[in-house]
Subunit: 286 residues, 2 copies
């Protein structure tokens, strides 16, 4: 089987790492706009060969893991180039605009809209890790728009990698993911900004910050090139989550200013039920 | 050596775990307002015996790890009961009010105001872990108010546990810690609240949330009984950090609404330098 990866960074690289381990008979071809990433992916043995769109007719499966603004430009071209038995999957964190962009593509049935909920705060081929997708959820949108045999081909690979499959429409995906992923990134970036601005002497932060701070600002290490277009494409939902988050923070501040510490206690106590929710979230294996 | 621990939860329990491992000749006495915690601590072998304030005259070292509102009531009583060669350390997350409360205590020189920057989101004796303090910072305030020999006695134990010592005045401590610890907890609690409120069907959160969400809301599992008095005692600084955080979130939202995605990119790119800062934060060993 010939598997092509377009965008060989954290997601694409981790994907082929597991594919190579589980399906040793496949040949992995890498395509990337960044030539040095491609060289790095080859040196790291993530891919068997460097490739380009002119070879895409040889592909049985294509994983497209590039920033979501580039998806809108590249996915139509990739679909133009593949053969009729090839399935093209994306890994974008937005689904509505991507699905709309491909709605009338003559090869729409070769496309499977995916969002594997997996990642770390790092990026690039060297960030690729084994087992990133094991136990994680892969959200598939508009599955009925994909040819049945090609759905099957893609699902067989996802299942081999240990992924749980959930079906959702693109609108619901974008709305929910704004809450459980996009908002977390903004809260983390702005927390990092607030502390950096105040603590010009970084030595003070280093000395006083503990593992709690590290946990809440971890996502502020994420790639701006990847996240800017996500916020752009999901702007409406993201603004809604931000409005609600800002309101909750303002309410908390008002309770403090009113010395309503019973109210403060209750706010935290009610949110403690996040414990039972978090128990179900699969973490990256070390 | 007789070591007494007042408040045998995550901090007190982890402290004596390491003390017992590094100083096997010591006897550990536990005091706790919660009788079942005391039984649990004995069953878990965290303490050698249950005790009470009437035995405190036997103590060489007392670690007080109770909520900061209880500190104001209990620390004077504990100091009243100890002998002149005993050093009493607290582990409270606020320092200004605690130091003020003891300012004129006749045994002020037996007290060492401490804040070990260590913890997890869990609480109670069963949350105690080995090595919690190894490589962590212990901030000591108003060191000059403590008898020199008693400073030495306490530092010897902290160093044995692998802690780095930093000296700071209580006002500076409370101001900085609001940024790198207290604000993180509020951002996490309110993020958890925002998502829970929106996603009434918890199954949806579970399916779509990944390790990034888990990381940013981890602190929302923390104990309200511990955190409410911290926010009360450090209210002024906490409100200031909240104002700045809310302003940064509002500015980010405005950039989104204005479609200023170059601005969005720059905000995240500037905050990426948190990477190099975080490298210096020691995490809990697994």
């Amino acid at each position: 089987m010939n598997i092509f990866v377009v965008g060989i960074g954290l997601i694409g690289g981790s994907f082929v790492k597991d594919v190579k381990a589980k399906m040793p008979e496949t040949t992995i071809y890498g395509i990337d706009a960044n030539a040095s990433h491609l060289d790095e992916a080859l040196a790291l043995n993530l891919i068997d060969a460097k490739s380009s769109y002119t070879d895409l007719h040889l592909a049985d499966f294509v994983m497209v893991s590039i920033p979501v603004n580039a998806m809108l430009i590249e996915l139509p071209k990739i679909l133009d180039s593949v053969n009729e038995n090839c399935v093209v999957c994306d890994a974008g964190s937005t689904k509505e605009i991507i699905c709309s962009a491909l709605e009338n593509h003559p090869k729409r049935r070769n496309f499977l809209a995916c969002h594997p909920i997996a990642g770390t705060e790092f990026s690039g081929p060297s960030a690729a890790i084994n087992g990133l997708f094991d136990g994680k959820t892969n959200i598939i949108c508009e599955v009925e728009q994909t040819a049945f045999k090609l759905q099957e081909k893609a699902l067989a690979i996802f299942q081999l990698l240990g992924m749980r499959i959930r079906y959702m429409n693109p609108k619901a995906h974008d709305k929910h993911i704004a809450y459980v992923s996009h908002l977390s990134h903004i809260s983390s970036f702005m927390l990092g900004k607030t502390v950096i601005e105040k603590e010009k002497n970084e030595r003070d932060i280093f000395d006083m910050a503990g593992s709690g701070f590290e946990s809440t600002v971890r996502l502020a290490k994420s790639s701006p090139a990847m996240w800017t277009p996500i916020f752009e494409q999901n702007k409406e939902n993201v603004v809604e989550t931000l409005d609600e988050y800002i309101q909750n923070l303002t309410d908390f501040k008002e309770l403090l200013l009113k010395d309503d510490f019973e109210g403060i206690y209750n706010e935290m106590n009610n949110t403690n039920k996040i414990k039972s929710i978090l128990k179900g979230i699969p973490l990256n294996k070390k």
